[in-house]
């Protein structure tokens, strides 16, 4: 149970930072020279990469096609629950 809670907490963090990055991404699409927004975007991207690495080391790949690593000796991608099952 504690593991599930930890996992959900990390996923929530990822969701939050990813939303920050997505919002800044859309904003930068129409404001490409806003250097402050660019700084925020890069900071969010760094934090997101770190969080995703942490998540994948514990719970398996979050992204398919090699954009995330699969730790251990079994293919976790197909075993972890799908978003509509969680």
């Amino acid at each position: 149970m504690a593991e599930l809670e930890e996992r959900m907490h990390l996923l929530k963090r990822i969701r939050e930072i990813e939303f920050v990055a997505l919002e800044l991404n859309l904003y930068l699409d129409t404001h490409p020279d806003d250097t402050q927004a660019l700084q925020h975007f890069n900071r969010a991207a760094d934090e997101l990469a770190e969080l995703k690495k942490q998540y994948e080391q514990c719970y398996g790949p979050l992204l398919n096609y090699g954009f995330g690593k699969n730790p251990g000796n079994t293919w976790l991608w197909a075993q972890t629950p799908w978003p509509w099952e969680m």
């Binding site: 996923l11 929530k12 990822i14 969701r15 990813e18 939303f19 997505l22 919002e23 991404n25 859309l26 904003y27 699409d29 129409t30 404001h31 490409p32 790949p61 979050l62 992204l63 398919n64 096609y65 954009f67 991608w77 972890t80 799908w82 978003p83 509509w84």
Partner: protein
């Protein structure tokens, strides 16, 4: 190329099964102002866009709409997966059951299947971006009506998130439209 991320953009919890609510919410899955129409419209209009800003924006909003499609699909699935035949009948979903069982399908709130006639690509960037802005407003209004209909606070919370995204997209499309207008003006003068 798209990479799948095994999580929802916004988490979906439901209070329990609610077949009636699912029958209405599914319109944002496969209805005229739904997320499938939005995503396919924007991703398809990218090819004939003239400026950096408009190409990037249609690509990125078209991609976000796919994430919204998955959120709406998850709501409908969770609200209906344990429904009994009697409950499906009572909610007016006997026809859906006959054709699809409890599977999702791209339909509106009264069961009409999705059609490409919902969307357009005119090749004229002003016309296309104006359509996109209208589409965002129509989607926002649909989420409004769904929030009015919803008797599940958990679902209402997700619908409010999705409604907010339509407002942000409308704003960004407006900026892209200004950009295209400036671009076309310059082209005329130089």
């Amino acid at each position: 190329m798209w990479i799948y991320e095994k999580k929802l953009q916004y988490p979906v919890k439901v209070s329990g099964k609610n077949v009636r609510l699912a029958k209405w919410v599914i319109t944002q899955y496969g209805g005229p102002d739904g997320e499938l129409a939005a995503s396919l419209r924007y991703l398809n209009q990218r090819y004939s866009m003239p400026t950096e800003k408009t190409k990037a924006l249609l690509n990125d909003i078209g991609t976000e709409e796919l994430a919204h499609l998955e959120i709406v699909g998850t709501i409908v699935h969770k609200l209906t997966k344990d429904a009994t035949i009697e409950e499906l009948k009572a909610a007016g979903l006997a026809g859906h059951y006959a054709d699809h069982d409890r599977a999702l399908f791209y339909v509106d709130a009264v069961g009409n299947p999705w059609t490409a006639a919902y969307i357009q690509a005119k090749g004229d960037p002003i016309a296309d971006l104006t359509e996109d802005m209208a589409a965002e407003q129509k989607a926002r209004a649909t989420y409004n009506w769904l929030i009015n209909l919803s008797d599940d606070p958990c679902v209402t919370d997700v619908l409010k998130f999705l409604r907010e995204r339509e407002v942000v997209h409308f704003q960004r499309f407006g900026e892209a439209l200004n950009d295209v207008q400036c671009y076309l003006q310059e082209k005329k003068f130089f």
